[in-house]
């Protein structure tokens, strides 16, 4: 099923024309309403009337998370506050949170794009959607909520936390769709095992998972353990929240709602747009946003764009599953390491839980990477030699993939908290002075 045939199957040329028109309108709005952008455009001697079409996008200035922080909380908004009907904010792990605002039309667009992604995941109006994303400032809960209502499904706004009660309600209310972070989905699966809940008592069939990077091997694990189809969705609050992109039933990349959010892939070092198909940093321009329109926003997420038509019939450009962020990347003794690589290795081994944490430190000017892995019940042996063999095997597998030596430490189960939001995977203790 396709929610919006017109835009989701629009021929490429027509889409580019649409994007060009919307871009022109957006530049006019931000030039006259956002002093920050007017200054940036003036520095480049660009006037709104200079924008003729989508090809002009590459000349325009970037926006970064830093810019959002510098203009905290409302200075990048392009409408008077009387037009803003909702505020969300992203958890500021470092410094201030980033604040985003929505007009009534933004909320309508947001519901529309979420309705599209839910439909492409296979959700229908007969479904019961168990929304276990956090409600509140985080965009996950309310974003999925509004889209589900638009689809006409039955929304169960359970929010995050109290896992046992969640499972009880999931069973009693007959939830068919689970929306949460992939790590929370895995945690739910573990709890189902712990409580010996028979899978037949749950009616789940689809998972809508996003808000943190996860690998295909983790997907397999979640699909097997929950017996569902796990759909990857992508979104970030700066752009709109959930609804930026999502997989269809074929799970071969995420269709970007490019009539609202124009994607580009750039080299994070040179900031040049990369040729089609190359991997780099994902950048979005939110052409239809009224409250907080962002020009070429650098997401920090690494991906590549797939232009071939999808088997599902959608013509929307696809982005490859996002496996890392340019700022998640660790450089250990000159080697680039992504936490997702470690996760894949652990999942492929199948002998430990995919719950891990990377601790980086520097001793005698040498980077030390310690991989801490939880020892789940099913892998626990009371023989030291078996645990030592397991440790050695994990170490060998990581070393042969990454090409650097690591230290592996087994830790007790549930050492790492499972957040409804994002799980802290990396602790970098290096002092780079």
């Amino acid at each position: 099923m396709i929610w919006n045939e017109k835009f989701e199957t629009m021929p490429g040329e027509e889409m580019r024309k649409w994007q060009g028109e919307k871009l022109r309108e957006m530049i006019e709005r931000i030039y006259y309403n956002v002093p920050f952008y007017r200054r940036k455009l003036q520095e480049l001697n660009i006037l709104p009337e200079d924008i003729e079409g989508i090809d002009d996008l590459a000349r325009l200035p970037f926006t970064t998370k830093e810019d959002l922080r510098d203009n905290y909380p409302y200075n990048l908004f392009a409408v008077p506050m009387s037009e803003i009907i909702r505020i969300h904010a992203s958890s500021g792990t470092t410094g201030k949170p980033t604040v985003v605002g929505y007009t009534r039309r933004d909320i309508a667009h947001w519901s529309e794009v979420v309705a599209r992604i839910l439909t492409s995941a296979g959700v229908e109006r007969d479904d019961y959607i168990h929304v276990a994303y956090g409600y509140g400032l985080f965009t996950g809960g309310l974003g999925i909520h509004y889209g589900s209502e638009k689809v006409g499904a039955t929304v169960i706004p359970i929010s995050a936390g109290n896992t046992k009660k969640q499972l009880q309600l999931m069973e009693d209310l007959g939830s068919t769709v689970l929306a949460c972070t992939p790590s929370y989905a895995l945690y739910l699966a573990e709890t189902i095992d712990e409580l010996n809940i028979e899978r037949d008592r749950l009616k789940l069939r689809i998972g809508i998972f996003g808000a943190e990077p996860w690998t295909d091997s983790m997907r397999k694990k979640v699909e097997e353990r929950l017996n569902i189809k796990a759909i990857d969705i992508y979104g970030l609050s700066e752009i709109i929240g959930p609804g930026v992109a999502s997989e269809c039933e074929y799970q071969e990349g995420l269709h970007i709602n490019e009539d609202h959010f124009i994607p580009e892939i750039i080299d994070p070092e040179t900031l040049e747009v990369l040729p089609p198909g190359e991997r780099g940093e994902l950048v979005f321009t939110t052409v239809t946003k009224e409250g907080l329109p962002l020009l070429r926003y650098r997401t920090g997420d690494l991906s590549r764009l797939i232009y071939e038509k999808c088997r599902c019939g959608r013509t929307l450009v696809r982005m490859e599953k996002c496996l890392g962020r340019s700022d998640d990347m660790l450089i250990i003794r000159g080697v680039n390491v992504f936490p997702s690589q470690i996760e894949s290795i652990l999942l492929e081994m199948g002998e430990t839980e995919p719950h891990y944490r990377l601790v980086v430190d520097r001793e005698n000017n040498l980077d030390i990477l310690e991989v801490q892995v939880e020892v789940g019940d099913q892998f626990f042996s009371d023989e030291i030699k078996k645990l030592e063999q397991l440790t050695a095997k994990i170490r060998r597998n990581i070393e042969s993939t990454l090409g650097i030596s690591v230290k592996v430490k087994l830790v007790e189960p549930k050492t790492f908290e499972r957040y409804e939001g994002k799980t802290l995977r990396v602790i970098d203790r290096r002092k780079l002075d």
């Binding site: 009371d382 645990l387 007790e412 189960p413």
Partner: protein, 141 residues
């Protein structure tokens, strides 16, 4: 004759053993025997308790990695050469011991051991008139 021994994974962190024993104590579970195998990074607690199933459940609820392992408890006279005689029987039969812990008091010595084949161990020791203790006897001692 099989005794269900509780095995628990513990990181080498201050206070962890105190926490573990506290949880068992509050649940009214008594420990009859206990040994700790340790490496530089982690340790394994092996303990014989009054109610292994309940202990397993409670420790799982407290997020410990825990399992039950089949062991036997051999008793011998507390005399020189008694243990050697018992071990000789196993070694003749080619049964290797994975680990053991023991203590003696008064006239008796108690040896808890895990072997590669617990049923054959029991059979062989019994055939040679060795005395094995039942879990209930051990807990009521």
């Amino acid at each position: 004759m099989i005794i269900k021994q509780l095995s628990v994974f513990l990181e080498n962190k201050a206070g962890r053993l105190t926490e573990l024993t506290g949880i068992l104590g509050r649940a009214g579970i008594n420990m009859t025997a206990l040994s700790i195998a340790d490496t530089s990074e982690f340790g394994i607690i092996r303990t014989v308790v009054s109610d292994p199933e309940k202990a397993l459940q409670i420790l799982k609820e407290h997020n410990f990695s825990v399992s039950l392992t089949d062991v036997v408890c051999l008793t011998t006279p507390n005399k020189p050469g008694a243990l050697a005689r018992a071990l000789e029987i196993l070694s003749v039969e080619g049964i290797s011991i994975e680990y053991m812990y023991a203590f003696s008091i008064g006239e008796e010595a108690f040896i808890i051991m895990k072997t590669e084949d617990i049923n054959r161990t029991i059979q062989v020791l019994k055939e040679n008139d060795m005395h094995l203790m039942k879990a209930a006897e051990l807990n009521n001692k």
